[in-house]
């Protein structure tokens, strides 16, 4: 499946993966928050929500701000 992750297209051989599996594969561990198709996903839901071909994931972390 093809996913858009932080604006970049990524290919995965699996047909579906949970958000947790994707974060593990990409080696994201802490200090992040996730939105799936522009909707916020609670940390506690990462293991339960499966993403599918064409989905968009945004993985954000703290940065300077005014």
């Amino acid at each position: 499946m093809r996913l858009s992750i932080n604006g970049e297209i990524k290919e995965f051989k699996e047909k579906s993966l949970t958000i947790k599996e994707i974060l593990d594969l990409m080696q994201y561990n802490k200090g992040i928050a996730v939105a799936l198709n522009e909707t916020f996903v609670l940390k506690t839901e990462y293991e339960n929500i499966e993403v599918k071909d064409g989905d968009r994931l945004d993985i954000l972390s703290p940065i300077q701000g005014g």
């Binding site: 080696q27 928050a33 916020f40 945004d58 954000l60 972390s61 701000g65 005014g66």
Partner: protein
Amino acid sequence: MNRVKWKLEGREFNSRLMIGSALYPSPEVMAKSIKASGAEIVTVSLRRQSATDLNSGNQFWEIIKELGVTVLPNTAGCHTAKEAVTTAMMAREIFEVDWVKLEVIGNQYNLQPDPFALVEATKILIDEGFRVLPYMTDDLVLAQRLAEIGCTTLMPWGSPIGTGRGIMNPYNLKTIREQFPNLNLIVDAGIGKPSDAVEAMELGFDGVLLNSAVALAQEPIKMAKAFKYAIYAGRLGFEAGVMEKRDMANPSTPTVGTPFWHQFS
């Protein structure tokens, strides 16, 4: 300085200065400037970052945590209510705070907040249990709408973000202050020099939020200190009550006992 605590969204603070964490020449200068400013509230944001960058350590976030300040996440860069709501929710989870500086930009040229999307996003976030501090234009009716839906703090701009043009329209800010005596009002954006902050405080505003004015100064740490004193001076001036302006000159030195040489003229 002898300080009187004030309350913002249920939290107590000494300083009425809120400072941004962006645009400093280096992380060290940022940390020293924040310390020198005496600010207890620091704005932060969220962005996409690669796992590689994050795993090598988020230096910025570690420095902020070490400063022991209260963070106020913003939703900078959002252009729709939906984007702003999603970003606010992500920020609440990461920063573990229930407040947000809500920014929804409506115009790319002057980064003017979109009043309609701002009200829409504010409604949703208040229903979700957030304390919303909306970054807004200096519009009285917008202030009214935001207060009606439950905002207890409003953050009108002095002038567009990063322009350093100071307070464009003191009348508008003064009117908002007079019409909403019980809300916390913060001038957010456009402050360029310490006297702009004094002006905001003399208008009776409860605080000032700024970033570029310090970060882009020739000497940010010194400027941070200048703003610390300016905001304190402006607040004292407001509390003390400014004298009325008069058209006619009035001698401040007593005229009784004027020396003999004035008596012949």
